[in-house]
Amino acid sequence: MGHHHHGDHHHHHHHDDQAVELPPTLDTAVHDEELSPAELSRRSMFRRTGLLGAGLGAAGVLSGTATAAATGGSQGKPPAEQRTGKLQWLAGDHHIHTQYSDDGKYRVIDQARHANAYGLDWMVVTDHGTITHAKIGVEKVNPDIVAARREIPSTLVFQGLEWNIPGAEHGTVFVHPGGNEVSTLKEFENAFDERGKNPNDGVPANEALAIAGINFLADAVRRNKVRDALFLANHPARRGIDSPHEIRGWRDAQPRIAVGMEGAPGHQAGGLKAPFGMGKARGLYDNNPSAASFPGYPLESYRTYGGFDWMTSTVGGLWDSLLAEGKPWWITANSDSHNIIGDAATRGPDSNFEANGRYNDPVYGGSPDFGVGDFWPGYYSRTHVGATGFAYSAVMDGIRAGRVWVDHGGLISGLDLQLRTADRWHQSSTTIGGVLHTRRGTPVELVITIDLANNPNWAQYLPMLARLDVSQGSVTGAAADRDTFTTPQTKVVKSFEVGKSTGTVKFTYSLGALDKPVYVRVRGTDGNRTAPGLLGAAVDPSGPALDVIGDADPWKDLWFYSNPIWALPV
């Protein structure tokens, strides 16, 4: 398997970033009239199923399919390197704060050193958008980031910001390094950040401003101002203010820029029992509906389940309702690191954030702080990205392509999913985030290969994967109601008992002969805390349980989640 082994940070990254061309059928920049009749017919099929222009053709998805098909040969399956398309799985975190956040404390190098030590290959610095940050911090943080890139070459350090999405929650916005990274972020923040700009123009105007911000990022890439840009929604269900139609609106405005959301929020230590914890909620998800929240969301949506956001943890819920549209929307898991539990550093004395755009460097405070709820980047939450090389652009391409799986507490070390035709002589295959194109009636199977934990995690114990669940749903096309947040046809279709901590395990789930588009995704658990899913035991007999406020030990409730793979029979 091509996954990345942690502990080995001496990467040999010699891949150049290759621009992956979309086939003309999937490239919406190519007009219908420019296509051959055969291409046009194929595009019509994509359009009918909602898969056109959705970014599914991006990066390695189609090239991976082509590679596997070309090397299928007489062995009946391609060699391991080609099954994963020679991907390196790079662990990272796109949600990290520093002393340039109005609620932050650490230096950039503090975060980068810990991220590197805990095994992260990439990280994004996302200080809060504020008037002060837009004016001072967004520029002043850049030399610190540039220095961290130099000092810690084996962890890629992106500059981004945590956008206060007008009328909604926060989101990570980040760009590829380059001469205009700062000016682009600064211009974005001044024009589109709710706190930086404080628009207060009412709901429709705010929602339009959010879309305009995403369009601005796409335009900056189109004009080569920055090489790439991405936006992901953070802690989306925390306060009920990311409505389903807003999420669909972001995704549909720029599917290559607005690509996903946190499946699991940060602040995972927030539920540890007092006095050696905050005694609050995992993710600090302890809010309730407000006038600004989406009225359709149930109270359950304001809490976490096995540490994951309700949108993701509910089988058949909001995330699945997006995937059932046949459009990509990927999940990640991050630290949201501001203040590390048990750390004795305190914010620098005599700070003047307003004047300096940052707090002074932290100092030793003399006693560990258990009244905070975060872990260092890489310590508990990881977002694993299948990248074609160790490069900024490869990480961004991998995220955009949905070659992403996430885990908590080092539950597993490597995950390879291959959705493939079960017909030996016409075998094609694709991995996480991809689309398997098959002929109608061809049997399809999902092959799940997992490198178990094999090593202790950062709480110094060896996690055990107890069980895997495969969820499957039908692709039913664009939702008629943009505020839809359930889909009736997605459910857990197969579970595998594992009960091991070391070695590699492999399972195959047969989807049978397909006559309509479907998707599958996989999750796994240590089995410590489970409950019937919120949409019923028939949908999810043994899903993540509601986290208890005041007593939620994140190390005793570990899950991993993959992103989906689609199968598209024609």
Partner: protein, 190 residues
């Protein structure tokens, strides 16, 4: 026939609306049987309105003048005063309480006794709350189960019943769903 009226001061948060309720209850000297609720107004500028239900035989006349003097939206049995945006919010709030289909109760009979720890049975017997339900499809807790009230119990009208949503707490106890001091969106934790 009870008497229901609505007020809308454009409150930006539940906390502000709770304060408006308590302030007006005290100022107007409303009877102890009064029920007062908050209601979301999901207009272009989302905010919170409030409603009051007075016991049988209460006449609006005694309170009309002090309410008119507030300069906020007021709606009482078809009579409205204040800016139209606010008087509409007040009317909607009053309608919601009258139909018992919505509204989060801040003031209700027995609320003063729901402090510290109480059992589910006590909570049902000693207050106007009709029903206790556990979040995430976990049914109704046993009468002897303990509820840590945190001195903040805000039941909601659901299908005509004043319903308290609760969540599991450590050691088999329960807590009301609504946390008294939820983590603000950009907490300055340090």
């Amino acid at each position: 026939m009870t008497t229901v009226f609505g007020l809308d001061a454009g409150s930006g948060s539940l906390r502000d609306a709770d304060h408006l309720i308590q302030e007006q209850r005290d100022r107007l000297g409303l009877p102890p049987e009064t029920i007062a609720c908050t209601h979301f107004v999901r207009a272009d500028r989302p905010h919170v309105a409030v409603s009051f239900q007075l016991p049988h035989g209460s006449s609006p006349d005694a309170w009309w003048e002090p309410l008119s003097a507030l300069g906020i939206g007021v709606s009482w049995e078809g009579r409205r005063i204040g800016p139209v945006e606010l008087s509409t919010g007040a009317a909607d709030a009053a309608d919601e309480l009258a139909s018992k289909q919505g509204g989060r109760a801040v003031v209700y009979p027995g609320v003063d006794r729901l402090v510290g720890e109480v059992t589910v049975g006590q909570l049902l017997d000693e207050s106007a709350i009709d029903r206790v339900v556990v979040l995430a499809g976990q049914g109704e807790p046993a009468p002897e189960a303990v509820v840590h009230t945190r001195d903040h119990v805000r039941p909601e009208w659901r299908d005509g019943q004043l319903t308290l949503m609760t969540a599991p707490a450590p050691n088999g106890a329960f807590v009301p769903f609504e946390v008294p001091d939820p983590t603000p969106c950009c907490a300055d934790h340090a």
